[in-house]
């Protein structure tokens, strides 16, 4: 039961508050991501693989940071009690954490992905890898949204950590599965990026999953009348 209408100005204020709290970290991750993308362009296989590992680590690290700082630690350190006293309801809080978490994460995800795409385009790295790069980054973004949702709906540190471990394991499964798809691996070494039906379907599925997670989380939290 949605007891009162969504308080959009308060949601915006709460998101701005979180941005003020975590912007330095996000800018730090952003810089690290760009450095990782730079390492990938160095003319050895080792540097390329190192760059990939660092890039993925930075994207996953930023995701965990947003989740833990804005949801888990806020609850653990009783700052949530301070927020609960403000003129908001459970849905306002959930939306601020979910949409705000995504927006804050995108402030490092988006520049890192764009810079990496640019580096791929203007370096000897085959452009055929670009769809794979986008799919990997999108999978990490989907994982982040799912983690934020689990953190918000469960309110449990343990459940959130276990979910994070599972999602990270699934990322490896995702990599293996996607690379085995014909529509992907046949074009990875190509000079130009190929956005065929397989790639577009996977991108579409990722976006749909994100929208679905947002809708389900909002629905679940809107049925809760009180914070406690």
């Amino acid at each position: 039961m949605l007891t009162s209408k969504i308080n959009t100005p308060m949601i915006v204020k709460l998101i701005a508050k979180d941005w003020h709290l975590y912007k330095k970290f996000m800018l730090g991750y952003c810089a690290l991501g760009v450095i990782a993308a730079g390492i990938m362009t160095l003319p050895t296989d080792f540097s390329f693989h190192l760059g990939v590992v660092v890039l993925i680590t930075v994207l996953i690290g930023a995701s965990a940071h947003v989740l833990f700082a804005s949801i888990v630690i806020e609850k653990k350190e009783s700052q949530l009690s301070f927020i609960m006293g403000l003129p908001i309801n459970v849905t306002d809080y959930a939306l601020s954490k979910l949409l705000g978490g995504i927006a804050i994460y995108l402030t490092c995800w988006l520049p890192i992905v764009l810079v990496t795409l640019l580096i791929f385009t203007f370096s000897p790295i085959p452009n055929g890898l670009i769809p794979m790069l986008i799919l990997c980054a999108l999978e990490i973004l989907v994982g982040t949204v799912l983690l934020l949702s689990v953190g918000i709906t469960s309110g449990s540190e343990a459940v959130t950590i276990v979910t994070m471990v599972i999602i990270n394991l699934l990322f490896n499964v995702f990599l293996f599965a996607v690379v085995r798809l014909e529509g992907i691996h046949l074009h990875m070494a190509a000079e130009t990026a190929v956005f065929n039906q397989t790639v577009m379907s996977l991108i579409g599925a990722g976006v749909l999953i994100i929208l679905l997670i947002i809708a389900v989380t909002t629905y679940i939290k809107s049925r809760k009348v009180c914070f406690l």
Binding site: E77, S78, S81, F82, G85, L86, V225, L228
Partner: protein, 297 residues
């Protein structure tokens, strides 16, 4: 304006190991109510229900004329809430918190905030994590007071403070609350804190409110009589005597409804009334809790 800022009628909440039972509470507008109970008595649960943070299993809750928790967002625009467990963001300074709260509450009073800043001796630029517990509580109070709420709900604001910091906070709070017409619900297990500030006192124990009255009535009604008996035979309680302690021919009795008739009744039994003493709120609370718990047995 509503006659009552807070009204709870027959409110109950069940937990696995604790029940809040049939709470009836009415706080008239403009009054300061001390909500007193031991740890785990149900003060914080009641306050969470009042604030709309927790839903009661049954009963009605009205705050500033609106139903909780359905109207929690609207209600919280006019309520300043601070609790012992509440923490501000350690990495940010008080100035940042003040800007954040000011952006939410249009009633924020800059001049008053500045005055409180000086009165509480707080540094605007200092990060919250560098504050002592007393400073942290003062910062919280500043944030709720400067928004000029119609109702102030303070859940154990001085718990965990050292005696010096507690006295400091209490003195400031007493001054501030006397400044203006405010409705305040102030919970504490420390009766001395409550006695200093409150007009009304409500006692809660084991999930039930068992006594509620204005402070003067409590202090008038509850008295200790020092008696000298004609013999060391056990003194039998009369009328409204709720506690008897006897050592030989000397006895101390406590009444919860003192009148001159009690003195006359003892004198008629050839018992000498050596003194009639007022009780502190702590003594009243303890005697009241004991009386209630004896009644439960």
């Amino acid at each position: 304006m509503n006659e009552f800022a807070i009204q709870l009628h027959n409110v109950s909440k069940h937990f696995n190991y604790f029940d809040l039972k049939n709470i009836d509470l009415a706080l008239p507008t403009g009054q300061i109510m001390g909500f007193v109970g031991a740890n785990g008595a149900g003060k914080s649960t009641t306050i969470r229900i009042i604030m709309g943070l927790m839903q009661a299993d049954s009963g009605d809750v009205t705050v500033l004329g609106q139903s909780q928790p359905q109207m929690q967002t609207q209600i919280k625009h006019n309520v300043g809430f601070s609790s012992e467990e509440m923490r501000l963001y350690g990495a940010k300074n008080l100035g940042w918190h003040m800007q954040f709260i000011k952006s939410i509450y249009p009633g924020w009073d800059d001049a008053y905030a500045k005055e409180l800043l000086q009165r509480f001796d707080l540094n605007l630029e200092q990060n919250i994590k560098q504050f002592s517990k007393g400073q942290h509580i003062k910062a919280q109070l500043l944030l709720v007071l400067a928004r000029k709420p119609r109702l102030l709900v303070l859940d154990e604001p001085t718990t965990g403070l050292d005696p010096v910091a507690r006295q400091e906070v209490n003195n400031e709070l007493a001054l501030i609350l006397k400044d203006e017409e405010r409705t305040v619900l102030f919970s504490s297990h420390n009766t001395a804190d409550v006695e200093k500030i409150s007009d009304q006192i409500t006692f809660i124990d084991r999930g039930s409110i068992f006594d509620s009255n204005d402070k003067e009535t409590f202090l008038e009604n509850w008295r200790r009589l020092q008696l000298e008996l004609p013999s060391d035979q056990p003194l039998l309680p009369i009328g409204n005597i709720v506690q008897v302690e006897q050592q030989g021919r000397l006895a101390a009795v406590i009444t919860n409804k003192f009148t001159a008739d009690i003195v006359q009744a003892y004198q008629a039994q050839n018992i000498k009334v050596l003194a009639v003493e007022s009780l502190s709120l702590e003594e009243i609370f303890l005697a009241n809790v004991n009386l209630r718990r004896q009644g439960e047995r």
